[in-house]
């Protein structure tokens, strides 16, 4: 890696790091989502500084050139981000489902109270208490 390539890579790593921190500072990105971005920029920074480690890693995975290792790293990073998002989506779907159900049940109870049909049930309303979120 010649000095200009090294400088360019370092600038990119620093910019990604600063940009991520800035997003968290402005509360446009939550801390939990910033971890992977910060970690990746740090790993890239270290690998640029310690180029021999990058070459060692390239040899270990059986690649011929270091750019292959970097591309594999980038793809792995994107995959991890996608997995993190789908886990979060599943969690959000479950929360939305529970909210829709609770809203529907509460609305039904209100309608029953209004029409005087409510009878013979737990006073504490165990719906939420029974549920595991």
């Amino acid at each position: 890696m010649n000095p200009s390539q090294k400088l360019f890579a370092l600038i990119i790593c620093v910019l990604v790091f600063i940009f991520t921190i800035e997003l968290v500072r402005r509360r446009r990105l939550r801390e939990e989502y910033s971890v992977l971005w910060l970690l990746t920029s740090l790993v890239m920074f270290v690998l640029v500084i310690r180029y021999d480690w990058l070459e060692l890693l390239t040899n270990m995975i059986g690649a011929r050139i270091v750019t292959t290792t970097l591309f594999i790293g980038a793809i792995l990073f994107l995959m991890l981000i996608a997995v993190q998002f789908t886990i979060k989506l599943s969690q959000l779907s479950r929360q939305v489902k529970n909210l829709v159900q609770e809203n529907a049940l509460l609305r039904s109870e209100i309608e029953d109270v209004k029409s005087g049909r409510l009878r013979g049930r737990n006073e504490t309303g165990p719906i939420m208490a029974e549920e595991k979120h």
Binding site: V100, N103, A104, L105, G120, R121, N122, E130, E131
Partner: protein
Amino acid sequence: MSKILILIPAYNEARQLPKVLRGAQDALPGADLVVVDDGSSDETGAVALSLGAGLVTHGSNMGYGVAIQTGYKYALARNYDFLVQIDGDGQHDPDSIRELLDPLRSDEADFVIGSRFLAGGNYRPPLARRIGMQVFRRLVSWIVGTSLTDTTSGFQAFNRDVIRFFVGDVFPCDYPDADVLIILHRAGFRIAERPVRMFPNAEGKSMHSGFKPLYYIFKMFLSIGVTLLRSPELHRREKP
């Protein structure tokens, strides 16, 4: 006397619902009825109320699994002893409800599934569906250790313990089907099967259209596999 709830999940079933509700009322006059309107755009909710049923309305269409789980939460909150689940499209014959309840009342089973094939039912699904049903029937029967003839039936009845179990996260809301039986078995519930009558869908609608059968097969195998990989203790812990 036992408190019984008849749960009818419905999505745009205003035309079929009166027949289903009247049939259920005639079959079991002492039972309460609740319709879970899964975000219908027609008069489903108004029809349910006009015929004296309880009504729970989803703000948006969440799918069959979520609708029935809302019904379970309703039943649990109102202390019902038994719940009978019957589809709102008129396919399930309400006259069969009593037969489903018998094993629960005599405490022979915790969960009873209505089979359209027991006692020589005349239901003949299309070939592809028949093959799929056979595969899951054999697989589930083998895992559960009891011969079951209709593992995909939505015509079911169960007791309060199962209701309490189903309101938890263990219930597969995205496509509850044959996998539910395996989950129940792993949790230690007693499963029984009784013959019921089913009619062809009057509106010709099906939950299994387009690519849904493919997703169904994938989801069932995945769900059954994952359920088997989980420790039975995990399910027993969820059991009330």
